[in-house]
Symmetry: D2
Subunit: 457 residues, 4 copies
């Protein structure tokens, strides 16, 4: 035995039990009362929760956007992740026109191998079918462990949108080869119409970012995507769902046993569109924008009753001086916010305060992502799983600040937010990577997660 | 260590892992790879699934009905349960007018202590508030571990029905004291109307049992119960839900975060109302009756997507000569069918054939019942839980027959039904009680399960 | 020709046209431009609307209640009706246990023949099937022109409620014989529970009348009634619908082509439950009570889109000293309010202010009631119809006061309410009965309206 | 008086009365019993119904399509219309890129003035905003009596589709200027995907026309259009609705008081997609294609309960040799079928057989179209309206055949269909244009109908 975490309360999506956890060669090899120590290192988790590490299935590291790059690269992003209790991170490499899936993925592999402090996987963003070659390549991509692909119902003028026909082709091919299609759903035509109108009227503040992509603009695209997935009987994963009407349509389809999965993000659960009226409103600019109170209420309701499957971050921070580009024109603000280090503390704090159960948080942030995306060795504290473990102290108070985060960004939308309880240690395959406030891992430790394909029947 | 189950695949509601399970003093004390044997008895579960024992939360043992008593008493019923992989059974003692809750429960305790082969708990059926004394007594009943109560929206002429006012009082008191109200929902007035009409028309076969309590007759009562629970914001557990319209209303309310829980039974999942046209139709007579194909489809849909929380049996068999009382008058047929020994094999067989996952079956038959009804030590294979364990062989074929069942009844509606896979051993708190076809337990082994109350906020 | 109404704008449910209307022998015999005068009396309606008289299908005249009788008898009630543009009134005679339908109706006939100033019809309230004799009598009642029957889902302790079985029998018999069942839907058990609780807590003001019968208490009964009507495929007319949830369920069933008809009343459209907090709150006490803003909004929405079929009054005023009986106990307040003279002016004023169209008001208050209840000669300005006509001046302002009403009551909930536009003349079968503020009709003029039965197929 | 139609039964959307109808100068000037003859021509309508002429708001006369032109030009089309009881026809002139609305309309005016046998109006099809000039021109178009515009959510490759942004601009401008936007809703991307796939697979029969545009392909576009209309709070008229899912979404929005209007066509009510398997399946090819039984049932349900507002024809026949172009490739079949002469006889026959009421048919085919599209003088038998009148004999049997139709086409999908009852005469503004089987009107008689704009609040 290498390590024994003793005296803690182990939380899975189902159970909450007192049990020691024994780790050997990066795996959980035993759980029990009074496990023999066998010379293992012992960590005392008395009074603490022992949780599976979170899997943040939605991040954009080192992502080019509007002439710059998101503030966290693979090193900083995975470092921050580890310090927030995330032990696996999914990145979204994006195809430029003409690239094969393999080229897209390979372009990231070398840097990740060098920089990643925790394990990582890729969803591949598809923007162009390359006359069908991409469809042909999907099966081998799945065989190589890339089992999810993403596309946009937005960014039409930017040439990144897929139309409904391409979307249908991707849905059907993904279903055929055991992959999952992810979708960012907003309606580009209405956004463009609104933007043109607002700019013509001199309405340029961050508030108009929201007003140009309000609830019904996201809802249309959500509903359309759900419609196709339902009728084509293909699995679909909706990323960063933020509005009530789209959410309800997706949940309705799930009730009809469509294979639809819903993700939302902490920023949609904590803030409302009112933030865009703040002086620092541009820092909150992301797409889809944060919506109104009704949508936030609907998201929380669905979090509680299982309507939402996953909470992930869409982590994509930009520096203040980059956000400032949009001071006089909201369309110039780089889109995206920080979150990777806040996900698990935020959700666990909600559990700690009784909004939902710890088991539910584990399901939303670890077990469900692992199952949905085929990470067989991840997502639970169970014998045989990777020893991706977070030790969580429910008794401490913590106030989030850019100063106590471990990213490279220079500000955070979470500044000043207080959480109850906080991770004290994070283990990645049995190796301590975060310890009482400090990153103690190393670049290059992280491994690529080769994922299992979905059953294709 | 007393016992180690080696080499099996452990299934919980969340995880499916290879792990040995070590048991001491009736508890699961460790799970792991290659646990030290320490002189423990070893059972090899290679190629088998290691499952938590099922919790059948709906049975009527030794229940008086229409001048007779249900065919399985506490000994036979719990013996059959053990042989079907059930390790905890809930009985429904019924209040006669004027009795206190304590009197109702105490009337069963002595016999259960003597006869029960596995652990047992009670839901107490309330038919009369005793001028409010019952309401006053509910809190102490909860303190004694009786945390659920049942009432009827039917059996009006029999004096067992509660009206909506009594139902509201029970709902609100249960909510206040941390208990759960269970309900059998059918509309008595329409049943009586239909029965009177059919008998007057000389329509007396079992088919008219169904036609006198068809889908819409159950649905009305389901919907009414859901309405009150939703608006009074009180928890409600709907037993033996069998019809589509009521089911959909209940699921809709759950989506609104009403605390509604839904149970169905294997007979509603396997058969349709067509059975009542068979020569032996009267053997299938139970209330509510088995419904049509549309309802069965709706039940399966909800089983798959989590709309239904629990599958239990409503086990209440009668002997053939008793069922025969109704040959010429369906109203004379004692209501109820066998099921306690078929629940887990039937549901696991469905998983084995791909209709749902094993994890889901564990949730429906073990984890969810344990959580909903406050059995803290039951319902999962996890360190610290009672060693209520079933070893299941997915590879065998089994044809159900009264000859290979372990009840006292002389026929079964499940005769000839084939299942894929079957339990090979059942352990009750670590003691082997069923072994490859034979009951090997003992009367009196079973303990009363003192349950935890629900949070009352 | 006896009379020609010239130069007016004729409004039907469909059309709005300039046309003269010629009347002979109490009938409309011609409509046209410049009809020949032929020595007829001529009334100039230039600038006025020429409307069919309203049909108030819900009134309680001389109704015994709690030791008194509603303030308006047949004379006063029909006099007030005429002055408010109502030309046909439906009364609700109530069966006492043991009475035949014929006895119930006959008990009213003599007095109506003597007192009624306008035409009248009866819905017969059934409280007891007399061992089925009532069901047997329904066909002959229909033959005599009594084609609608009413029952209560409330007033259980008062012995006036029908249970669901009796309701089903009435629904099915009504369907068979071409009649319509009307229903007052509230849940008595919850009311009784609430009342008992409030009185025990010393909560005795009119506000607790509302709180003891709030939205969900009416909604349950509405939904249950709709359920039976839908599944038994029988026509049902829901009187005085006042709550959103019940309304939506009824409209949903209409969308499924159930034969459900919905009535609401002006008091539910104008006031909210806030009135029960007023010092004179007891004057507004009626059952069902006026509901909250959400319900009022839902009613108006359904008024506009055709979800509601009829607006009628439930006219049943009591004198102030009678209302005062309940100053210290809301259960002692006689239930009912005035409205018969306000119906048409109120609804037409809403049209005048653009909330809906005049055609819609004519449909809601005249054409629809006539069609639904089989008044073949009533409800429209069309050749061959009875000359029941209102001349309406849209340009005047009118403030309602007990002083300018024509009832026998001593106060009105409508005191001070301002309407835009007001009737200037009412004709009953061609006879002027109301003229610029004055009643000019005569007791005994009114005829019994023998109604047509519904198609029975 | 020029003409008196005596002894008939006049049917409006509201009333059914015995009345003579007097006509002078093309207008209905009086209705009544025994109107003075004054030397007028007298037509005896004893035993007949006297109905407003139908308004077919959806036709394509002399429409260019795929290298040919629809078989009925303005003369033949309006001649056939008259013979089927249609007295006003709406044509759909289509903008080619760069044309102004005025140019589009003017291109039709001269020919219509010369050829039209009955009155006519135009909806203008917009395919291109001309950099916004079209939006600017809409107000003056409305002033000239063109108060409705149509666009396509389909025909993307043909350059006729508007995207969602253009659609939003049109919706909002139409709302602003008191116009109505009409929409043909199908999803082009899925159609193109399906077509490409089927052709590649050698699936070329008419059946694949249906399979390439099945229910869900229309439904998506319907739902999207409804979404925008609802959220932008703009009026929208959905033409030729043919599928259940889209229909239900549109009706749901109407219930929320969105200003949505729904049209369907007789072919969707009479046939199902099974026709595309027939040898002459290509003759039924139109877009959207005729759907399955479930959709037909849903359409009829909505016809009966008022969910559908209008029935019109989408009349656009092609000759057999043109239909034959697609014998080996369904994409080559000119889209469209005959119907203008069948609309009223078909719907009235349905009423005659009890499926709905005559009043409802009048509403669907005459009153509603007149109101929705601002034809103030049309759509009802009422004093002051144009004398557009059909005399209908409910007692005759009629079998539709190309031989007894009055179009220029050489076949009809209605061949062999039997109707109960048939028009015997049609009057256009008092002039007899159809008489017992024969067209007796004249080209050039028809007038342009200058329509009223909608209220803009
Ligand atoms: Zn995105
Ligand atoms: Zn993203
Ligand atoms: Zn039961
Ligand atoms: Zn039971
Ligand atoms: Zn009432
Ligand atoms: Zn009443
Ligand atoms: Zn079209
Ligand atoms: Zn068309």
């Amino acid at each position: 035995m290498d390590l024994i975490i003793k005296n803690g309360t182990v939380v899975t999506a189902t159970d909450t039990v007192k049990a020691d956890v024994a780790i050997r060669d990066g795996k959980i090899v035993a759980m029990g009362a009074d496990l023999p120590l066998d010379g293992a290192k012992v960590v005392d988790a008395a009074g603490k929760l022992v949780l599976p590490g979170a899997i943040d299935v939605h991040t954009h590291l080192a992502m080019p956007f509007g002439g710059t790059t998101s503030a966290d690269g693979y090193l900083a992003g995975t470092r921050a992740a580890a310090c927030g209790g995330v032990t696996t991170v999914f990145d979204y490499p994006m195809q430029r026109k003409g690239m094969t899936i393999k080229q897209v993925i390979d372009s990231k592999k070398a840097i990740c191998e060098k920089e990643a402090c925790i394990d990582y996987a890729y969803h591949c963003i598809i923007t162009d079918l390359n006359d069908g070659a991409i469809l042909d390549e999907m099966e081998s991509a799945v065989a190589s462990g890339i089992t999810s692909f993403k596309c946009f119902f937005v960014y039409k003028k930017e040439g990144m949108m897929v139309d409904d026909g391409v979307f249908a082709r991707l849905l059907l091919k993904a279903k055929e080869v055991g992959a999952m299609l992810n979708l960012h759903a907003e309606n580009p035509d209405l956004i463009d119409y609104n933007v043109e109108k607002f700019l013509a009227e001199g309405k340029t503040s961050a508030w108009y970012h929201y007003l140009s992509r309000p609830e019904y603009v996201e809802a249309e695209a959500d509903k359309r995507a759900v419609h196709w997935a339902k009728h084509l009987e293909a699995p679909l994963y909706l990323v960063h769902m933020a509005d009530k009407e789209g959410l309800e349509a997706a949940i309705e389809a799930k009730k009809e046993n469509s294979n639809i999965y819903i993700e939302t993000c902490p920023q949609y659960l904590e803030f409302t569109s009112e933030v865009y009226k703040r002086d620092d409103g541009r820092n909150f600019v992301c797409s889809p924008p944060i919506k109104g109170q009704e949508s936030q209420d609907a998201l929380w309701k669905a979090i509680k009753n299982g309507g939402i499957d996953v909470v992930a971050t869409d982590h994509c921070p930009f520096q203040s001086h980059e956000k400032d580009w949009g001071i006089n024109d909201f369309t110039k603000i780089p889109n995206g916010c920080a979150g990777i280090e806040n996900l698990y503390p935020y959700m666990l704090s909600a559990a700690n305060q009784g909004k939902l159960s710890y088991n539910q948080v584990v399901a939303l942030c670890a077990s469900n992502p692992a199952k949905i995306f085929g990470c067989a060795d991840k997502g639970s504290i169970a014998v045989g799983k990777d020893a991706d473990i977070v030790i969580y102290d429910p008794s401490v108070d913590f106030t989030i600040s850019v100063d106590n985060m471990h990213s490279d960004y220079d500000h955070t939308i979470w500044e000043g937010i207080q959480v109850k309880g906080y991770p004290v240690q994070t283990y990645s395959r049995g190796r301590l990577v975060y310890d009482h406030g400090d990153f103690v891992g190393e670049p290059g430790w992280g491994n690529f997660v080769k994922r299992e394909k979905r059953p294709t029947k």
